[in-house]
């Protein structure tokens, strides 16, 4: 059963009472919220997300609530809670839906130290995954969104989860977070994709969420094998260019972007070492998404 099978009333009831239990890859999130925009946002963006049964283990019990006291009327807010604890300050109410996705990411990065968590997008071709680590603003989410609209499977647009035991990448297959100019670019590039409302004036500028492709969500339980490391950079007016990268440099770019590298210590070092051993790494500059996709497809066909 997935979320789209719930009636409006049933979903609203679960959101207010027991929580609606989304299974995103390895994790089950129980979400509670009285806010109608959260309900509508889930229906739009998580329609295909499978639901966990009531008697299953829940990884994170989260809630998005309206602010308390007078503030709630003067300046409406949204508050994120995980199991009764508020890890960060409330945001303006208009950002509630974005806050839900950021909050889910926060749970994984704050608590998920059983695995290596890299701030990177990950997409897969068959069972082979490309890891796209890059600082914000390098166009990694845009490239990721484009690839998953042209046949690549979405593993994650923000957090690449690497198992310490198997070295495999676990998929999350959650909505892709698009920022500023890339929102319109992606609407034009993939008119058939489903987009959430554009939320203005967040700390990251304007953001909009794009629904994960149904096939990626359906395969979210299947891990993928790390095969390529690609550091993307959007450079206006350039031809798509893929340049091999030295191993040491690639190691550092992964370690810099690994959110719990300092916590995992030696295990983190070995996990990244294994990625570097297993995957050729490249720098990739591009300006046209179609060229970028052709480059990735060629990479996939070459092996």
């Amino acid at each position: 059963m997935n979320l789209s099978h719930l009636s409006n009333a049933d979903l609203a009831h679960r959101l207010k009472r027991s929580g609606v239990r989304l299974r995103t890859g390895p994790f089950v999130f129980s979400i509670r919220s009285p806010l109608p925009e959260i309900r509508a946002g889930l229906q739009l963006l998580h329609a295909q997300t499978p639901l966990a049964d009531d008697d299953e283990f829940v990884d994170y019990h989260i809630a998005i609530n309206a602010g308390r006291h007078v503030r709630r009327w003067l300046r409406p807010q949204a508050c994120f809670e995980v199991d009764g604890v508020e890890p960060f300050k409330p945001l303006p109410r208009a950002q509630a839906l974005a806050m839900l996705e950021w909050g889910m990411n926060w749970c994984i990065t704050a608590y998920g130290h059983h695995q290596l968590v890299i701030h990177a997008a990950a997409v897969a071709h068959g069972d082979r995954a490309a890891i796209l680590p890059a600082p914000p603003g390098s166009g990694k989410s845009t490239l990721c969104a484009a690839l998953v609209n042209r046949g690549w499977r979405l593993l994650s647009d923000e957090l690449t989860l690497v198992s310490l035991e198997t070295g495999e990448i676990q998929a999350l297959a959650r909505p892709v977070n698009l920022k500023n100019a890339s929102i319109q670019i992606m609407r034009d590039f993939a008119p058939q994709a489903v987009f959430g409302p554009t939320i203005q004036d967040t700390s990251k500028g304007a953001v909009a969420l794009m629904q994960a492709p149904a096939s990626s969500v359906a395969q979210a339980g299947t891990p993928a094998r790390p095969t390529w490391i690609v550091l993307p950079k959007y450079a206006p007016g350039t031809e798509a260019a893929l340049t091999p990268m030295a191993q040491g440099e690639a190691f550092l770019s992964l370690a810099d972007n690994a959110m719990n590298y300092h916590i995992l210590g030696e295990q983190g070092f070995h996990a990244i070492g294994r990625l570097i051993d297993d995957c050729p790494s490249y720098r990739f500059t591009y300006s046209h998404l179609d060229d970028a996709i052709a480059t990735f497809d060629a990479l996939a066909d070459a092996r």
Binding site: P26, V28, D55, E56, F57, V58, D59, H61, D83, G84, V85, Y111, G112, H113, H114, Q115, H262, I263, L264, G265, Q267
Partner: protein, 374 residues
């Protein structure tokens, strides 16, 4: 259901044979309780110690392993930080006397198992305090931003310096000169804490309190604390300390502990520690021990009140463990904590000050200093 669920974590931690939840929802509750009590890594340790980790279903096991990784990393950091402290203080001829969690980890005690930290606590004899403070500052530890009032409050009324933080590593340090504020009801003797402290093997220049003092300090800290967040964790520390030292030191241990408590005027916190470790964790102790402490045992109504408060505080502070009186118990604990730390007239002044000026801005020269630091 509530009463049973409130003891779920403590029962799992102390069961001599693995006693693990049988359902996924049972695991759900146990993991949440342990996380809220800061005992998730200790739960991992206990289950691993009983060889039962492989029988934990994968989803909850991931949370246990994650908590274990975090605690493991913190222990490495604590050892590194201890080394840095030693580097700062040894040239001054001052030993690093570790307190609480850092002491358990560096001395390799069972109470280190899965212990997590927010700061490191050390004890410095009061006459050496100015020298220690400037040595620490030269090595990068800075006092946190404080208002003038808070600075004065710490310097005049507290048993510790204002909290320090290392400017590069961000690690937090509390420097104590005794274990209770000078204004508190009880006055343990700081000189004997230092003179009876013991050297940590393989760590020249690093010491920890003697076993009895370590237990008394842990008890004193817990039962003077005004906040419930780490109460169950601290009680679990006490349980592990009592089990370990009574086993190691043999028969004379309990008499020694009682005698030391009397000498340090800490019979009452010890009595509370014994009562509640026994109740919550079933800590083994001689049956005649509690009755042998009649001078400090609180009477009927007072005991009923303490039980009403502590039975609610010494649980995971999670909504599924709370009852109608939990919020009241937390308020009572806050007042009790302050009450024990200062005489009524000081308490009244302090609370009034805090009520009138909830958020004082740092003074201008401090603001300048902060800007320079930034």
């Amino acid at each position: 259901m509530r009463a049973e669920s409130a003891s779920l974590l403590a029962d799992t931690l102390t069961a001599p044979e693995p006693r693990l939840p049988r359902s996924a929802t049972g695991w759900d509750l146990l993991i949440r309780h342990a996380r809220h009590a800061n005992l998730l890594a200790r739960l991992h340790h206990r289950i691993a110690e009983l060889g039962a980790l492989s029988s934990v279903p994968e989803a909850p096991r991931r949370h246990l392993i994650a908590a274990h990784h975090l605690a493991h990393r913190q222990h490495q950091a604590v050892r590194h930080e201890t080394d840095e402290l030693r580097r700062a203080l040894q040239p001054e001829g001052i030993d690093v006397i570790l307190l609480k969690g850092a002491a358990y980890v560096v001395a390799g005690l069972p109470a280190a198992a899965g212990r997590v930290f927010s700061d490191i606590d050390i004890l410095v004899p009061k006459p050496q305090l100015p020298q220690a403070e400037s040595a620490l500052m030269r090595h990068g530890w800075m006092s946190a931003k404080l208002t003038d009032y808070d600075q004065r409050y710490y310097r005049r009324w507290m048993h510790e310096l204002p909290p320090m933080q290392h400017m590069f590593r961000g690690s937090a340090l509390d420097v104590h000169h005794t274990i209770l504020p000078p204004t508190a009801r009880y006055h343990p003797d700081p000189t004997s804490l230092v003179s009876d402290s013991i050297a940590v093997p393989n760590w020249p220049g690093v010491r920890v309190l003697s076993p009895c003092d370590m237990i008394l300090h842990s008890a004193t800290h817990l039962f003077h604390e005004g906040e419930a967040d780490n109460a169950l964790r601290d009680l679990s520390d006490l349980d592990l300390l009592l089990r370990h030292f009574s086993r190691e030191a043999g028969d004379g241990f309990w008499q020694q502990l009682v005698a030391r408590a009397a000498h340090q005027h800490l019979g009452y916190p010890l009595w509370l520690a014994l009562r509640y470790t026994g109740k919550v964790f079933g800590t083994p102790m001689p049956s005649q021990l509690m009755p042998s402490l009649p001078a400090v045992a609180p009477g009927g109504a007072r005991l009923a009140m303490l039980d009403a408060i502590y039975s609610r505080i010494l649980r995971p502070q999670h909504p599924t463990c709370a009852d109608a009186f939990s919020a009241l118990a937390c308020k009572a604990l806050y007042i009790r904590g302050h009450w024990l730390r200062m005489p009524p007239h000081l308490l009244a002044l302090h609370l009034a000050r805090k009520a009138i000026t909830p958020e004082e801005k740092p003074s201008t020269d401090q603001a300048d200093e902060n800007e320079r630091a930034a």
